[in-house]
């Protein structure tokens, strides 16, 4: 194993982490402000990817598609919030789980209704095609670097939004005391819709970005959703900082596990078996990490004040 390979894998872990952060940030924001557990977040990711792919196919521009993904996901989020989600705030988590589980079924089948059963085509924009050299002599895809950059920008933007704007102030107020912001004279219903749409837009953005290097298909949001939940639970539900660190931890652990565990196994058993056992262990690794963290810190690494 060379240093260059290790560096490349670290970047891969970082990129996966950044992508997970985009998902997890929305989830944790929605939980932090509204106390809502939203299983349908992965569906909004899917909406973003489909909107981007369809628009890009129609206009020929990935960038217009990217904008469309933000708009479509935010709109879908706002509609879902208005029609369904706002009836769930004062319900227990059980009802929320079930209602958003039902939404997953509807979204998946609905998208197939609209776009057909075959995966859609979405390619990387020309500007971000190809690879650049890395120190150590290997190359790295420009697009993955762009995802890392975009994720870092979003994280920074969220930080500015929450620490420096009126909306951010209301979000913080909502996180610490839900009754209080009502007393502050903030229209809480609008605030909730806006926050939900914001979280949805983040998910849609992630879906569009990732859709360009993955398969844009029905059900694409579910594996990511579960990983995003792992992230926010590790980070501490409701904490954006926790989501960021949790996402990076999960991204790097998962990538490094897939890379190193089979090699580790190969020291003990023949290569073919090492691949299988190592692969099996790698696929369970992040769940093991999560269980260990929660066993030691039952409310995650950065427990939010009220949750």
């Amino acid at each position: 194993m060379t240093v260059a390979l290790a560096l490349e894998q670290l970047l891969n872990g970082l990129q996966l982490g950044v992508m997970l952060f985009l998902m997890a940030a929305g989830l944790t924001l929605i939980f932090g402000v509204m106390g809502l557990i939203n299983l349908a977040h992965g569906s909004l990711y899917m909406v973003g990817a489909f909107a981007c792919a369809a628009t890009a196919a129609w206009t020929g521009s990935f960038w217009i598609g990217l904008v469309a993904s933000l708009i479509a996901a935010a709109a879908a989020g706002a509609i879902v919030e208005l029609v369904v989600i706002r009836r769930l705030y004062d319900r227990d988590h059980l009802d929320q789980v079930l209602a958003t589980f039902a939404l997953i079924l509807m979204f998946s089948e609905g998208m197939r209704w609209l776009f057909g059963s075959f995966p859609l085509y979405l390619d990387i924009p020309p500007l971000l095609q190809g690879a650049v050299p890395l120190p150590g002599g290997t190359e790295y895809p420009v697009y993955r670097l762009a995802i890392i950059a975009a994720g870092a920008l979003v994280a920074f933007g969220l930080y500015l939004l929450i620490s420096g704007t009126r909306l951010g102030m209301r979000i913080r107020a909502g996180e610490s005391d839900r009754e209080m912001i009502g007393a502050l004279g903030v229209d809480i219903r609008t605030l909730y819709t806006v926050v939900f749409a914001l979280g949805a837009a983040l998910a849609g953005f992630a879906g569009a970005m990732v859709g360009a290097i993955q398969s844009v298909q029905v059900g694409m949001g579910e594996p990511v959703l579960i990983l995003a939940f792992v992230v926010i639970v590790i980070g501490g539900i409701g904490s954006i900082k926790g989501a960021l660190l949790g996402a990076l931890l999960v991204g790097v652990t998962d990538t490094m596990g897939r890379f190193l565990l089979p090699k580790l196994m190969a020291l003990f058993v023949p290569p073919a078996q090492a691949g299988m056992i190592g692969g099996a262990a790698a696929s369970m690794l992040i769940y093991i990490v999560m269980a260990v963290i929660l066993a030691v810190k039952p409310r995650g690494l950065f427990p939010a004040a009220h949750a």
Partner: protein, 324 residues
């Protein structure tokens, strides 16, 4: 004088028995199979209802126990068929009652391990950590080659029960039906017992329970383990019904479905899981025959139930739940 809820319960139990008997007499064995499926899912959900309905423990990982029960049946039957020893030179078996004991014990042990860690957390964390444990078991089953991995494990001949022709749909249904009734009876007993009181009180007010000197953790862990055992038993029956077990029994969709059954029927209600399972299987069957888009309409129906029919089917038929 029967209360309205007991009357509804009685009608439900009688219908579940009458429909397959009639279907069998009319030469429609498929409806017997469908009823068997309902009975088994109802048993699995009754198990979950112990943790979720009585204890307020929203486990999003009960598919793990369901699948473990299923694999207990599949693995024992495979070894019983091939004659290869299992572990420590122990043979496999095709005797259902042995399989049931193994399924219950293994599911209970895994439940103890998962519960011991998960119950340190609460609320959303509990939901998510149980999900994570189930995913762990799921990925293990998918990638472990010995018992079929993703392809699953076929049980070539349905396992045996002394004095019963288990291959006949009606006979197997009756086995499942009796076990379901025992399961529901056990649920009723536990709910009314001292343990049940403590478990329900821990859901309503954890601090209160601790303040009278009962450790909520131990009560919940015990409840969780019993719940896992019952769901595990249902898993073993499910494997025998399908004569097949695969990781999809362990998937998070399965966990979600078990929760759906409970809410559809009425959370914490004695016959809620049965009502929910009957409704769910009926929807699935009827919609699946009507349209390719059945999952969309299933989602829609679930959503309407959660938003507008709180208390589920039993809430609708028998009114609000009462506690003594």
């Amino acid at each position: 004088m029967l209360s309205r809820e007991n009357l509804v319960n009685l009608v439900l139990a009688a219908t579940l028995l009458a429909v397959p008997l009639a279907a069998n007499a009319l030469g429609q064995p498929f409806y017997v199979t469908l009823a068997t499926r309902i009975a088994i899912l109802a048993l699995a959900a009754t198990g979950l209802n112990l943790a979720l309905g009585l204890g307020g423990l929203v486990s999003f990982g009960h598919a793990a126990f369901f699948g473990i029960g299923g694999y207990a049946a599949g693995i024992l039957a495979t070894h019983g068929f091939s004659g290869d020893p299992l572990i420590f030179g122990l043979p496999g078996t095709n005797q259902m009652w042995v399989i049931w004991i193994v399924a219950v014990v293994v599911a209970g042990l895994v439940g103890l391990a998962i519960g011991a860690i998960s119950l340190r957390t609460s609320g959303v964390y509990f939901i998510m950590i149980t999900l994570a444990f189930a995913q762990m078991v799921y990925y293990f089953a998918v990638s472990w080659p010995a018992y079929g991995g993703e392809d699953g494990l076929s049980i070539l001949v349905r396992n045996q029960f002394p004095g019963v022709m288990t291959m006949r749909p009606l006979s197997f249904f009756l086995i499942c039906y009796v076990i379901l009734l025992i399961g529901i009876g056990l649920f009723a007993l536990i709910r009314a017992s001292r343990f049940g009181s403590a478990l329900q009180a821990a859901r309503q007010n954890e601090v209160r329970v601790a303040t009278v000197g009962i450790e909520p953790y131990r009560i919940r862990l015990t409840g969780f383990v019993i719940s896992a055992m019952m769901t595990g038993l249902a898993g073993a029956l499910f494997a025998d019904l399908n004569r097949f077990v695969s990781p999809s029994m362990l998937s998070w969709h399965m966990s979600g479905e078990l929760i759906v059954l409970i809410i559809l029927g009425g959370t914490g209600r004695l016959f809620g899981p049965l009502a929910g399972a009957a409704l769910y299987v009926a929807f699935e069957y009827a919609l699946g025959g009507l349209t390719e888009r059945w999952q969309f309409f299933l989602g829609l129906i679930l959503l309407v139930v959660v938003l507008f029919a709180r208390g589920g089917l039993l809430g609708l038929l028998a009114g609000k739940a009462r506690h003594g």
